[in-house]
């Protein structure tokens, strides 16, 4: 086993070990701190291993180490193990690093929890890191599916972490149901692949219709997990979970898993041109729609949630345009700056004890580190050069040039403007101006929280430099050119930012804000899904329950009851009268005689 494989296994085994120990030895969990220590130790080891793996140059080749899984007639149905190449290693590094930062941050953030809750939280985190790594390192789609479902489970557990809060419990169930619905696509894709090719690999040449069908089914799952329109409604509600969870799962890693999957299965998607066309439009629509809604939220986490949704739309659109690199690059940069933004928001929320920006204001002076790092994140997200976000967004826009009559390109350019605009609004409302009553007593967060902020700020700013390296690994090229697209992107970003800073610091409102707010309040799509759930799914479940209770159980009970009744009905045969028994004997003798003579 080569050292690389060992390192990869460390990234899996370390967090798994932490999780298992926390689960199997309850005192570790109940006392809180031991579980936390284990989890962080696990992520530290995993991050270290991932970092070492980054130094390898695996352009164009892959290291596979697998064992057969689910043996049927001597042959495994799938393979379980690790696959190390230029696609999996960067993602692995990003996931481990962000997870480590978030876990360290959580030490302080989750401080007020009871020891038991605290321990449970960190056990979940360890489980998440293991699950996500299983997905990232998957050698075939079967293991990817396993990891996919596992992270979905952990997401449910963490969104509903404060399960005694009804809204949190509901949000967890909603997230789970919606992603589960979408995951059926993944399941059917697996079945389709297996019946056609006998395995679960994405590295196969398929007939066009099969490729399209498989890709479409997988994309359905991606739409769920990566919150694409119209399956996006669970993401804003997922903000019920603790903020570090929102940072890790619902910004940086889990929701990006959908994007990662498409990048991973690029050989498959490259054969499905119709699906790619669909992805282009779905991504674009999602990006625009979410950005518009993000403009009118008061809850800072919801702004960031819609922002995440929008940025995921950017990534999906890039993938739809055929550039796996652009989507992947933006995934990486987004992971860093969005996690940074969420952790920063958490820092602010922690200080003012409220999620709402109307309770904030003027925090720049009171929380300088938070403010600065948050601003860095905001600039990166807005796409201001030379921040990382600019580089990756530019890559996307470049990939969209000329596609579908330049329409997606134009729309996403406009969305870049909107992104800068709503982030400007957040900056003004949160950090500038006069503090509200709640914000008056705010102070900077402890070092355990600001440390990760600073750590994440580095790739947020400088991450763009890694672009060319990433591109080479994927077999594509990244040009830093001075053309129409980058210039327009920069203008949109800077212009949007400047405009919003001016508008909002004067206390104004954006045009159409009222309409958008109304649209948001009406939640048409959300209500439609709710109707589907309450009006169709639950009645269907009720009908099935009826069938089970009255038909299936009825059949079983009926058999039992029928037997008893039959027994009762047969009782009169025993009349107790001797004569009847004598007659029976005679008749029996006659029958025997008949049988004996008619042979």
């Amino acid at each position: 086993m080569s050292p690389s494989v060992v390192l990869a296994l460390v990234t899996l085994a370390a967090p798994l070990g932490a999780a298992l120990l926390s689960v199997v030895i309850p005192p570790l969990r109940h006392r809180g701190a031991p579980a936390a220590t284990l989890a962080i130790l696990g992520s530290l080891l995993a991050t270290g291993a991932a970092g070492i793996l980054l130094t390898q140059d695996l352009a164009g080749r892959a290291i596979r180490a697998t064992v057969p899984w689910m043996l049927v007639q001597g042959r495994g149905l799938g393979q379980v193990g690790v696959r190390l190449d230029a696609v999996s290693i960067p993602m692995l590094a990003v996931v481990c690093l962000v997870a480590l930062a978030v876990q360290v941050y959580s030490i302080a953030y989750m401080h007020q929890e009871t020891a038991r809750s605290y321990g449970r939280y960190f056990a979940y985190h360890a489980l998440f890191l293991f699950s996500m790594n299983t997905l990232v390192l998957a050698p075939d789609l079967l293991q990817a599916f396993t990891g996919w479902e596992l992270v979905g489970l952990v997401s449910y557990l963490l969104i509903g972490f404060h399960f005694d809060r009804p809204s949190a419990a509901r949000a967890a169930v909603k997230a789970f149901w919606m992603t589960k619905l979408a995951d059926m696509g993944f399941l059917f894709a697996l079945l389709l692949l297996f019946t056609r090719t006998g395995a679960f690999s994405w590295d196969v040449a398929l007939r066009p219709e099969v490729a399209e069908a498989t890709a479409a089914l997988i994309f359905l799952a991606v739409m769920g997990k990566s919150a694409q329109f119209p399956l996006h409604v669970w993401l804003p509600d997922a903000m019920e979970g603790p903020t570090p969870v929102s940072a890790l799962l619902h910004a940086a890693t889990m929701v990006a898993a959908g994007v990662y999957l498409v990048v991973r299965a690029d050989p498959l998607f490259a054969q499905a041109h119709w699906v790619q066309g669909g992805m282009l439009w779905v991504g674009t629509i999602t990006a625009v729609f979410a950005a518009l809604l993000g403009l009118v939220q008061d809850d800072i986490k919801r702004v960031l949630a819609y922002s995440t949704c929008s940025q995921l739309g950017f990534m999906v659109a890039a993938l739809g345009a055929g550039s796996a690199f652009a989507g992947y690059f933006h995934l990486g940069t987004h992971a860093f700056f969005k996690a940074l933004l969420f952790l920063g928001a958490g820092s602010v929320i922690h200080a003012v004890h409220s999620n709402f920006m109307s309770d904030m204001g003027g925090l720049a002076r009171k929380m300088p580190v938070t403010a600065l790092t948050f601003a860095a994140g905001a600039l990166s997200l807005a796409g201001v050069p030379p921040f990382a976000g600019f580089a990756s967004k530019d890559a996307i826009l470049t990939a969209l040039e000329g596609r579908a009559g330049w329409v997606p390109w134009a729309l996403l350019l406009a969305t870049a403007f909107l992104t800068a605009f709503y982030m400007g609004r957040v900056l003004v409302l949160t950090f500038l101006g006069k503090p509200s009553a709640a914000a008056a007593h705010a102070h900077e967060s402890p070092a355990v929280m600001t440390g990760p902020l600073l750590a994440l700020a580095i790739p947020t700013v400088a991450g763009g430099l890694l672009g060319p390296w990433l591109a080479r690994g994927l077999g594509e090229e990244m040009h830093l050119h001075l053309g129409l697209t980058p210039v327009l992107a920069a203008v949109a970003a800077l212009g949007g930012l400047a405009l919003s800073l001016v508008l909002y610091s004067r206390g104004g409102e954006a045009p159409l804000a009222g309409t958008l707010a109304e649209l948001d309040r009406r939640s048409i799509i959300d209500r439609t899904w709710a109707f589907g759930y309450r009006g169709l799914l639950l009645p269907l479940g009720g009908a099935l329950r009826w069938v089970d209770r009255y038909l299936v159980d009825g059949l079983m009970n009926g058999l039992g009851f029928g037997t008893l009744e039959a027994g009762q009905a047969l009782r009169p045969v025993q009349t107790g009268r001797t004569r009847d028994y004598a007659l029976a004997v005679v008749v029996g003798a006659v029958v025997l005689l008949i049988l004996g003579t008619w042979r």
Binding site: R579, D580, L583, V586, A589, V590, L593
Partner: protein, 183 residues
């Protein structure tokens, strides 16, 4: 053919008709008496079949012994309140059908069998019979005696009265108690 027909009539008169009366008489005593006739008729048939000893034994044990026993049985278990209860019951049709079915089956089997190879043989004389009983069939003979002994003993044990009847005991008991309770 006519010999057979004549025999049939004879048999019917001797045993068939009386047997029918046994099973259909409403009066139990009459039924017992008709049984006696049946048994006597059988004895006649035995005599005709060159089995005189058996005919004699039949009359002695069956007609003399068994019928007498039956009469005793009837007398001891008869209710003397004058009511006559229906002596046979509701399943006459089924019984008749069963009996006819039986007769039909066995009868047809008999008719289909070729019995022409069997011819009348010399039946054993009484002397030969006695010798056989004490020679060839000695063990069966002894076992039969034991059986009879067992039957006698069991009949006696079953039928004897263990205690006085409860009605008879009661007055004596209560009388004693009443006497004893007065100090």
């Amino acid at each position: 053919m006519t010999a057979e027909l004549g025999f049939a009539v004879l048999a019917f008169l001797l045993v068939g008709f009386p047997a029918l009366r046994v099973v259909t008489s409403r009066d139990l005593v009459r039924a017992v008496l008709w049984l006696a006739v049946t048994l006597l008729g059988t004895a006649v048939l035995y005599a005709l079949l060159h089995a005189p000893f058996l005919a004699g034994v039949q009359v002695l044990t069956y007609v003399g012994g068994v019928v007498t026993l039956m009469v005793f049985g009837v007398m001891v278990t008869h209710k003397y309140d004058g009511t006559t209860v229906a002596i046979d019951g509701a399943n006459r049709v089924r019984a008749a059908l069963a009996a006819l079915a039986f007769f039909g089956l066995v009868g047809s089997a008999i008719l289909r069998t070729d019995l022409s190879s069997l011819t009348p043989v010399e039946t054993p004389s009484t002397q030969e019979l006695a010798m056989a009983l004490l020679d060839r069939y000695l063990i069966a003979f002894e076992v039969a005696s034991v059986l009879l002994l067992a039957a006698i003993i069991s009949a006696v044990v079953l039928a004897r009265r263990r205690d006085p009847t409860p009605e008879a005991a009661q007055p004596a008991e209560t009388a004693r108690l009443q006497e004893g309770s007065v100090p």
